[in-house]
């Protein structure tokens, strides 16, 4: 009996040091992942079919080597790009009753801007010397324009924003019926405002 009682206790005083060593090892070798960004789908390689696009349906965005922005032949501030893109896409330039009329568009119906969102194409042209960060800003603003329109349409129709639907859809804990419902709604919104972004191969000025 007394023999057991006399067993010395293992000294745990160095436990903290060991844990610190492990901690420092992980701090050094680990990196906090930055795995988020702007997702883009580039067009396939062999796709040289010619399509006639009316001038009014084309929204030209140019970035010159010094990073200045030109939209539809006019110099524009970066902060105004989103609004300009929204009014272009959501213009709804065909009056009611005619073919191609956009019933859900809330734009002004400007004859210079797009006929309907399905036909609206944004053409982005950058030069080789343009900074990447400027390009990202432009991409971000154009994406924001589409997101804004999609969110508005989604909130109006379903009472939930497009972003929220997408997040819920990618969450795995939703029921299959709910998922299918969401998928249909997402598809509907994407058809209402298809993302048509054309990147013209970069040019040397």
């Amino acid at each position: 009996m007394s023999r057991f009682r006399q067993l010395p206790e293992v000294n745990a005083g160095s436990m903290a040091d060991i844990a610190f060593l492990l901690l420092i090892f992980f701090l050094v070798t680990a990196a906090i992942p930055t795995d988020e960004g702007l997702l883009r789908i580039s067009p396939p390689e062999e796709n040289r079919s010619k399509v006639e696009i009316r001038d009014r349906n084309l929204f030209e965005v140019n970035l010159n080597p010094s990073g200045e922005l030109m939209v539809e032949q006019e110099i524009l501030k970066f902060s105004e790009l989103r609004e300009a893109a929204v009014s272009f896409i959501d213009n709804g330039g065909i009056s009611a009753g005619n073919l191609g009329h956009c019933a859900y568009c809330s734009g002004s119906g400007d004859p210079q801007l797009s006929e309907n969102p399905q036909k609206a194409i944004i053409a982005l042209q950058v030069s080789r010397e343009t900074g990447y960060s400027k390009y990202v800003t432009v991409q971000n603003e154009l994406q924001a324009a589409y997101n804004e329109l999609r969110n508005n349409a989604s909130t109006r129709l379903y009472g939930i924003s497009f972003q929220a639907m997408k997040t819920e859809y990618s969450n795995s804990n939703a029921t299959p019926e709910r998922k299918q419902d969401l998928q249909q709604k997402i598809k509907k919104i994407q058809e209402m405002y298809p993302q048509k972004l054309l990147e013209i191969s970069t040019t040397n000025f």
Partner: protein, 160 residues
């Protein structure tokens, strides 16, 4: 009754450090869960631009990374200061991207090979010329899903 020796007054008890290991282990587990191992060390400067309309890349096994930026200081004497491409852990030329993507794609399981995303981690001081060359190469090998990796933040900060 001398069994319990009375403490002297004014003798402060030492703070117990018995819970220190627990605290450190907690920290350790926190770092182990939120971080990942570095798979390749960066040879290029990599300050990403900011954007707000970002989408998270959910599955890490479906991503192929391409780094672009100026070589870091220790490589500048050899490789110069012009932005370079880094694939895995060595510098590469634009022509090598196609074969790199094909090799990486072949490493992935069959069912993932069609859903791969290419993440471009490009330094914000790079120029578009190099980026469009890369995109052209990616199109040649049919790697069409491209992610411009950014930090979350106000996109107008990029303009300065």
């Amino acid at each position: 009754m001398a069994k319990f020796a009375k403490k002297k007054d004014g003798d402060l008890p030492a703070v117990s450090t018995a819970s220190l290991p627990d605290i450190v282990f907690m920290l350790l587990f926190f770092f182990m869960t939120v971080t990942t191992m570095k798979d390749s060390s960066l040879l290029v400067q990599n300050t990403l631009p900011n954007a707000t309309e970002i989408k998270k890349l959910e599955k890490k096994d479906r991503v192929i990374y391409i780094y672009v930026g100026k070589p870091t200081r220790e490589y500048q004497s050899v490789y110069g200061t012009e932005p370079k491409i880094q694939l895995n852990d060595k510098f590469a030329s634009v022509e090598e991207i196609g074969s790199y993507i094909l090799a990486e794609r072949a490493k992935k399981p069959q069912e993932l090979q069609n859903v791969l995303t290419t993440a471009l981690k490009v330094d914000k001081n790079a120029n578009m010329g190099l980026i469009s060359d890369i995109k052209q190469e990616l199109r040649k090998v049919n790697a069409l899903k491209v992610n411009y990796t950014t930090y979350e933040g106000n996109a107008f900060n990029n303009l300065q």
